[in-house]
Symmetry: C2
Subunit: 73 residues, 2 copies
DNA sequence: CATAATTATACCTCTTAGGGTATAAACATA
DNA sequence: TATGTTTATACCCTAAGAGGTATAATTATG
């Protein structure tokens, strides 16, 4: 599966009913960064991504390419 | 667990008996980048990391913070 | 429909990641 | 010990990521 990050962020944000701006504020990143994530930009910085994922109790880690998202945790 | 990436890269590289330089060449990244990864630098670019992980059939994806590495796949 | 809220796109600036190179340190092995 | 190999640290330069802002497009909502 490709771009699990995009799907994950979008889904989680919707679940919490947050706007991109609210998410950006809570994560302490710029609004533009949230947009870049959700647009599938691949040249993002890892620390910034993790900064956002932390809100959802997640972190970026190496997983087998084939494996489907096992989280929903 | 923190920095699964560092552990993963170091372990995989050792298993294949590659030097940092060899890994850099095969992944198509600079030697400095491999070193930055293994030194735990957190401000790395996601696309570059994935470029390296691809050699091992892996990719960066969001996982629960608490979950231990389940790969070894 | 009109209006407001949310998201997307574009431009500018500043900071820094990534690559290269050189040197030093650590780690082997004889 | 000395020698060669691998890894770490430090420097410079270029390209681009991240943030801000403004504007357009999209999506609700009445």
């Amino acid at each position: 599966m490709k771009n699990q990050l995009v799907k994950f962020i979008k889904k989680r944000r919707k679940v919490l009913g947050l706007t991109q701006m609210e998410l950006a504020d809570r994560a302490g990143v710029g609004l533009r960064f949230i947009r870049d994530i959700e647009q599938g930009k691949e040249t993002l910085r890892l620390d910034k991504i993790n900064q956002v994922l932390e809100l959802f109790g997640h972190i970026m880690a190496p997983v087998p390419q084939s494996k489907e998202t096992d989280d929903e945790s």
